[in-house]
């Protein structure tokens, strides 16, 4: 069993290594503190942002969960609530904001649009879900989700955080985390990770067109 594997299973520790149990306890305390002080980024995209504001306002008041400190700057935020339709013009900014957030960082996709494109999915400038570019931790269904379902999503996120371990979380590993390449706006949105595919497909398309043209000419 490699070092890495042993660490992912803290409960199957041999008798002589019982001292390791301290790690899980530390996890608990650490996560308890972390999950009750999640600072969201003040970042509204569309309709869902209004419900997010309503959740922050007096009736639903998410400061009861230690989340009232909405930060306009990504540098001070723990969670990005992607509240609304993600468009191709906006996604470079969103990726940049995500890259600028300090780790550990979480993303909540709020509403149908952020989850998977939503009712506007078929549109020509709508991204089919923010998880095509940045990793999403919690998805909240609804169009728009009511404030109570957003709170439910935030509690779901807290649960996820409570299950994480300091030993295995990617942000505490030695290797520096890689920023996500920022998409480029060309004739359409281009993901730098897919440049090869774009070139292949466009070449294939051109070949098909010339073949068609030749058939027509004959």
């Amino acid at each position: 069993m490699s070092e890495q594997e042993r660490r992912t299973e803290p409960y199957e520790i041999p008798e002589e290594m019982k001292s390791q149990v301290a790690v899980t306890t530390l996890d608990k305390i650490y996560n308890w503190g972390r999950s009750n002080s999640v600072w969201p980024m003040m970042f509204g995209l569309a309709c869902c942002a209004i419900e997010m504001i309503a959740t922050a306002a007096s009736r639903y008041d998410f400061s009861r969960f230690g989340m009232e400190v909405m930060r306009p700057s990504p540098r001070q935020a723990d969670v990005m609530i992607v509240s609304g339709t993600v468009t191709k013009k906006m996604i470079p900014t969103i990726v940049r904001l995500y890259n600028q957030m300090p780790e550990p960082k979480y993303v909540i996709a709020m509403g149908a649009c952020a989850c998977g494109g939503g009712p506007f999915k078929e549109g020509y400038t709508v991204v089919s879900g923010v998880d095509r570019f940045i990793p999403v931790d919690v998805y909240i269904v609804g169009c728009p989700p009511t404030p109570q379902s957003l709170l439910n999503g935030l509690i779901t996120l807290q649960k996820k955080m409570e299950q994480e371990s300091i030993a295995t979380s990617r942000w505490y590993s030695k290797a520096p985390s890689q920023p996500i390449p920022i998409p480029v706006l060309g004739p359409d949105l281009m993901d730098p990770r897919k440049f090869d595919l774009i070139r292949q497909q466009s070449a294939a398309k051109k070949a098909a067109q010339t073949a068609d043209g030749e058939v027509e000419n004959e």
Binding site: A57, T87, Y124, F195
Partner: protein, 580 residues
């Protein structure tokens, strides 16, 4: 003819300019078709001689079968009366139209939109760039032969859904497994992205014109698209000299969700829930305008009770929207969150009513052609009465006491962001922005729709055209809305709420129509063209805040950076509507 007559009668353009203008005699169409080369002369005469001083809407229609692009202009008089339509037609392969910006500066953003989405080039436009998509975008998406990457069929309902509906996500069919498409033979590495150079150049030109001899250290500052003061994903590029704004460009399209393209695939009824998502704070009034436009085409009239409920919902929406607008304006002024929390508290109580009546807090989807989706229950009426008769007047007064005399509010708002009445009209501002400048124009009065002619209310207006007056106009409008609500709730009759049977397929005769309402943020209009099929051929939204943004730059020039934030707050934009 006397001056008064020319200023009040509807001009017969074809008799005045027999060589240049012909009436639009297509079945179901109104207005006149003007020869392209004489457009400016006719428009000038309409503005100066016949008093059509406000250019409401400019949009294009792609008549693919005829090979023509048509530009449609809607103008009205700020003294009241119906809207006047004229059009020009240009060939599809070379669509060049003289720009109306020299006559009506308010056409600027709208012409840019028509250029962006339909590829119509406006000659003489000072800054013809793409507006909702980005520089370098391939094609003009609202053209009928332009297909989006997830294109399935020309019109809904799609055949793949039933009876052999095999579920699959749209991206599974796309070669890139995503919502993208590239021109044939495109090489991504060869592309040099525009990186806003074109945008910044438009600013520097202004700078050089102002200071040709001195070397100034003007700097460009970007506010947004992610900025707490921009009310969403809106961006302002400001050219600063110290704290002073030399020039400012609004940049939008960060929430462009292709509302119009999707709507032209949808059936008429399917568009109703989409309109909710335009101005998402005021969904009922979007429903209202769209229902009016389609009802005009269909020639149906909703029953009495439905009319009253419509007015009740529209006015409640106005109160919600103004509470939010005032609250967030104060946010922008630095009163961080408390006023908006009080505003949102009242909103919560009103959205409870929306939820009871329509089933959703925000996306009401409540209006149908010829009526309403469902009746308002007696409990909902009772709750509304309690709110309107007791709580709302009290709370508006409290807001008033809380903010109106506040010294900081007055210092920050009085005399800032002034828009003169002449400028407001020229820049096509509508709604509270226009009225605060001293032009008491309200569609509910100027061209009463639905049953607004039965209610007693005053049109709120300001005199100074500054931020403070815009704030006061909104406060007064809330009071007037309460007044209308009291009357409507008092007179609410019993009866049916729908003319005819509710049907999921509606027959809309061919023709065009323009339905407009006084939305909370200005004149909200829907321009529809139907060709008798179940789907609209053209569906255009005259979004009030989009057009009100034309006046942002003139209001901000010469001001300080901190003022711009407040000026933007006083226009009260909603990005869902600006970008559509």
């Amino acid at each position: 003819m006397s001056d008064l007559q020319t200023q009040t009668l509807v001009p017969q353009l074809d008799t005045i300019f027999p060589d240049w203008v012909r009436p639009d005699d297509r079945a179901g169409y109104q207005g006149y078709i003007v020869e392209t080369e004489h457009l400016l002369a006719v428009a000038k005469a309409l503005r100066d001689t016949y008093g059509y001083d406000l250019l409401s809407s400019v949009t294009g229609v792609d008549y693919l079968p005829e090979g023509k692009l048509e530009v449609v202009y809607h103008v009205f008089r700020t003294t009241g009366g119906p809207i006047f339509v004229y059009k020009v037609q240009v060939p599809r392969d070379n669509p060049v139209v003289p720009s109306l910006v020299p006559l009506y500066p308010g056409a600027e953003l709208q012409e840019r939109e028509a250029y962006d989405l339909l590829g119509i080039r406006f000659e003489g436009h000072p800054d013809l760039r793409r507006i909702l998509t980005w520089e370098g975008f391939a094609g003009h998406p609202l053209r009928k032969d332009w297909h989006e990457p997830y294109f399935e069929e020309e019109a809904k309902p799609y055949k793949s859904r039933w009876p052999e509906g095999q579920v699959r996500r749209a991206e599974d069919l796309n070669p890139f497994a995503d919502n993208v498409d590239y021109p044939a033979g495109f090489d991504p590495e060869s592309l040099v992205p525009d990186a806003d150079d074109t945008l910044y150049k438009t600013l520097f030109r202004v700078q050089q014109a102002q200071h040709p001899e001195i070397k100034t250290d003007a700097i460009v500052v970007n506010l947004g698209p992610q900025h707490p003061s921009t009310h969403g994903v809106f961006r302002m590029v400001a050219l600063l000299e110290g704290e002073k704004i030399l020039d400012l460009k609004p940049v939008m399209g960060y929430l462009h969700r292709n509302h119009e393209k999707i709507a032209e695939r949808n059936t008429f009824l399917q568009n109703m829930p989409f309109t909710d998502r335009l101005d998402y704070i005021a969904s009922m009034s979007n429903n209202f305008a769209y229902a009016l436009a389609v009802e005009k085409l269909m020639g149906v009239q909703p029953p009495e009770r439905a009319e009253y409920i419509r007015v009740i919902m529209a006015e409640l929406t106005r109160i919600v929207s103004h509470f939010i607008a005032v609250g967030f304006l104060l946010n922008d002024l630095g009163a961080f969150f408390t006023p908006s929390l009080y505003g949102i508290k009242e909103r919560e109580l009103i959205v409870d009513i929306f939820e009871m009546v329509s089933g959703s807090r925000m996306m009401c989807n409540y209006f149908r052609f010829g009526g309403l989706a469902r009746d308002m229950s007696p409990e909902a009426v009772q709750k509304t009465k309690e709110l309107v008769n007791d709580r709302l007047p009290r709370k508006i007064d409290e807001f008033d006491r809380y903010l109106t005399e506040n010294e900081i509010v007055r210092q920050r708002c009085e005399g800032v962001g002034v828009l003169t009445p002449e400028d407001a009209i020229a820049l096509s501002a509508t709604g509270p922005v226009l009225r605060a400048s001293g032009v008491p124009y309200d569609v509910r009065r100027a061209e009463p729709y639905s049953i607004y002619d039965r209610f007693e209310f005053d049109v709120a207006y300001g005199l100074h055209g500054d931020i403070y007056d815009r704030y006061l106009v909104r406060m007064e409008e809330m009071r007037q809305s309460v007044r209308i609500l009291k009357q409507a709730l008092r007179d609410l009759p019993e009866g049916p709420i729908m003319t005819g049977k509710p049907a999921y397929q509606v027959r809309v005769p061919a023709g065009e129509s323009y339905g407009r309402v006084e939305g909370p943020k200005g004149e909200l209009g829907f321009y529809l063209v139907s060709n008798g099929k179940p789907n609209p051929w053209r569906y255009h939204v005259r979004a009030p805040t989009f057009i009100n943004l034309t006046s942002l730059a003139p209001m901000s020039r010469g001001g300080k950076v901190a003022d711009v934030v407040a000026i933007l707050g006083s226009i009260d934009i909603v990005l869902g509507e600006v970008d559509r």
